[in-house]
């Protein structure tokens, strides 16, 4: 198991894995809703890179969705 932070909350993953696999896990476990956009360690990750970026121990992931705004 590895420890990460997801939207400022401590979470665990089975192991280090590509972001795309982590997303599939969060869709089941966290009811992750679409559409969303992701940043890892304060860096924006485009969708085209989800398969290439790996989530490692200690990573901080922000998953943001559309919300009201002024």
């Amino acid at each position: 198991m590895i420890d990460i932070v997801l939207n400022a909350q401590p979470r665990s993953l089975m192991c280090e894995m590509p972001l795309i696999e982590a997303i599939a896990h969060w869709k089941k476990e966290e009811a992750l809703q679409s559409p969303f956009s992701i940043a890892v360690n304060d860096h924006f990750i485009p969708r085209s890179e989800y398969a290439h970026v790996r989530i490692k121990p200690g990573d901080s992931v922000e998953v943001l969705v559309p919300m009201q705004g002024g």
Partner: protein
């Protein structure tokens, strides 16, 4: 009353926010009542109670409006730039209302970080709508950095105080005649919006004034008419102000008045 905005034709000079409404349905009804086709939105962490699905986004999309994502709550260049990048992918637009806040109480833009973030985002192909103060030098620097649109405040966000420094706003209008100017923030009543349009500003952006009124849908309609009135007045040429009275009724033929 269409006008060109960043390559798009807009039918309204009223931009409206999507926050603070009593309910999602009132939000939709207010946006439609306003006639606005530019709506601001934000990005935030998913609510833990949402249970999947994005009700807000599902309600906004059918309104068929131009989405203007903001970077509200960002306090640094890094935060603002990253948020803008995420917004571009999420909303499918290169428009960004750039907010970099320097004071937590007044939500006053940090002019230095705003300028730096603007330069970075323009270099990345964004159409930046910077939320700024009414400072002429800052606005000039933003234009020099490539901004074609500026959004100076009328007053701090959510205060409803109106245009607290009309002299500064008029100066911006006179000194930056070719830039699209939008008064953003601080508008409280429709007369404030009219005032901005009468001054020659191209549009106004407001949220709290509608969402937190007693009847948001009716207030949105009031703002719609105020913006139209202000723009028509500007185009018609407002009479000059005078210090001495000048009668509007003819004096010639006045009865009981001895003319010598």
């Amino acid at each position: 009353m269409t006008f060109e905005l960043a390559g798009k034709t807009c039918k309204s000079r009223l931009f409206i926010g999507s926050a603070l409404y009593p309910s999602p349905q009132i939000m939709c009804d207010s946006i439609q009542s306003s006639g606005s086709d530019v709506v601001t939105v934000s990005l935030r962490r998913q609510s833990p109670n949402s249970g999947g699905g994005n009700d807000f986004w599902d309600m906004i999309q059918p309104l068929n409006v131009n989405i203007l994502p903001n970077t509200a709550g960002c306090h640094s260049v890094k935060e603002a730039v990253t948020t803008a990048q995420m917004a571009r992918e999420l909303f499918g637009t290169n428009w960004v209302k750039l907010e970099v806040i320097g004071d937590e109480y007044q939500l006053q833009p940090d002019p230095f970080a705003l300028l730096e973030a603007t330069k970075e985002l323009i270099a990345q192909g964004f159409e930046v709508f910077p939320y700024c103060t009414d400072d002429l030098v800052l606005c000039t620097r933003l234009v020099e950095a490539g901004c074609k649109i500026l959004m100076p405040w009328g007053a701090p966000i959510g205060t409803g105080k109106g245009l607290i420094n009309p002299y500064a706003l008029k100066t911006l209008r006179q000194r930056l005649p070719d830039i699209t100017l939008v008064v953003d923030a601080g508008i409280g009543s429709p007369s404030h919006a009219s005032q901005a349009l009468e001054m020659g500003y191209d549009a106004v952006l407001l949220n709290t004034a509608v969402a937190q009124s007693a009847e948001p849908v009716k207030m949105a309609l009031a703002f719609k008419h105020a913006v139209i009135a202000g723009r028509l007045a500007f185009e018609s040429g407002i009479m000059p102000e005078r210090d001495i009275a000048s009668p509007s009724t003819p004096t010639i033929g006045m009865p009981f008045w001895h003319q010598s």
